[in-house]
Amino acid sequence: MAEKVKLERQAMCDRLAMEFQDGWIVNLGVGMPTLCSNYSDSSREIINHAENGVIGYGPLAKEGEEDRHLVNAGGQKVVPLPGMACVHHADSFMMIRGGMIDVTVMGAYEVAENGDFANWRIPSRKGGGIGGAMDLAAGAKRVFIAMEHTTRDGAAKLLKKCTLPITAPGVVKMLVTDLGLFEITPEGFNLVEHAPGWSPEEIQDQTEAKLIIPDDLKEFRFRS
């Protein structure tokens, strides 16, 4: 068996980006999901949509390339690509709710086996941070989640039922963690690929929900 490793964040996001299909319009959430844009595959064209109303933007701006009027949803300066378009906020969310976004990738505190997820509020703290997450969760054709498999304290985040207030019910289709790639099926979490060196039993030990282990379980893919 290979040496047991936890997946790096870039590898996790690369794996989700491998699922993007030619021509997809992709919305990447703030934080870890933005790493999906570092994965390049010249065989397909991906159109980036950011909630602040920019469609078809390019990679992060290098020093000297920055334009103070052009940022992605995380406030990072990006460069324009030919064909880029800018719209106002209501039009940007019209695209989101109207079904134009093929996939949104977000982080989460918890994901449940029925596809619920939570990423906006911790009840012990006052208030919450929704941003565009609820609109994206309700409107995008697919919701992918990238997150660590457990909390810093080792508590499970792949649950039978979310304990935190949810962002949207039943929408998560695919999930990558530092231990593997999971699909959410009507029967629950399907372990599709495991991190190198990790057995399905060891991953189950870190998971509250019951994992489905397919006969054709594969090792995690780092490249398509």
């Binding site: 602040n52 009027h69 940022v71 906020h89 709710r97 565009g132 609820m134 207030p165």
Partner: protein, 232 residues
């Protein structure tokens, strides 16, 4: 043609009274009307309600958070009412935790559409956003085409503080790239719309009518950002 040009930021906000609702656009520091907010901070109006994507940031730049910290805001309506990270605790977060300011949390797309609705004379709208979450509790639900929606109501403002790239003397506005964000919606949803402009205000007729983002009929006051103004 009515003169809409004001010589100074201070003069353009001088009559804003206590207790009104201020629409304040901007996203990730772009398209924020920092010069007008600085002027309103100097002017000192109090008990204001603010509508904005967030309630300020931890950076030193003037934004709606400057007015929050100064105690001018009694309530914020925005898409973030908690720090997204422990390193991002703002004056608003501290005051909200101490019950020194009120807040209403609204999903960002619902915030944008509520503003649009107010400008458009629409009485309300049903959205699938937030269905099945805490935020939908107590709201009217209705099913359309097999999908549940919640009723959301318009969000008008008394004063809109706007940041534009170009303007003409008729008040027509043009924005650049992601500067646009909430600016057109707030310009159209406010009773009185005050605009800080990054370029010289040109004569009516000089902007291409087909390239205008906000028609001048929505705009009441224009101020050119001075050289020593806030440019970020």
């Amino acid at each position: 043609m009515k003169n809409k040009i004001y010589e100074t930021m201070d003069a353009s906000v001088a009559d804003i009274p206590d207790g009104v609702t201020i629409l304040s656009p901007g996203f990730s520091g772009v398209g924020v009307p920092r010069n007008l907010l600085a002027a309103l901070n100097r002017q000192g109006a109090k008990n204001l309600t603010g509508v904005s994507n967030n309630a300020g940031t931890i950076d030193e730049n003037v934004d709606i958070g400057t007015l929050v910290e100064a105690g001018q805001m009694k309530k914020m309506i925005c898409a973030f009412t908690a720090a997204t990270h422990p390193s991002q605790v703002t004056p608003f977060t501290r005051m909200y935790n101490n019950d020194e300011i009120d807040a209403e949390l609204v999903p960002q797309g619902t915030l944008a559409e509520r503003l649009r609705c107010a400008a458009a004379g629409i009485g309300g709208f049903y959205t699938p956003t937030s269905v099945g979450t805490e935020l939908a509790e107590g709201k009217e639900h209705r099913e359309f085409n097999g999908r549940m929606h919640v009723l959301e109501l318009p969000l008008p403002g008394d004063y809109g503080l706007i940041r534009a790239w170009k303007a003409d003397t008729a008040g027509n506005l043009v924005f650049r790239l992601t500067q646009r964000n909430f600016n057109p919606l707030m310009a159209m949803a406010a009773t009185v719309t005050i605009v800080e402009v990054e370029n010289d205000i040109v004569e009516a007729g000089e902007l291409d009518p087909d390239a205008i983002h906000v028609a001048g009929i929505y705009v009441d006051r224009l101020v050119r950002i001075p050289e020593d103004g806030i440019w970020i």
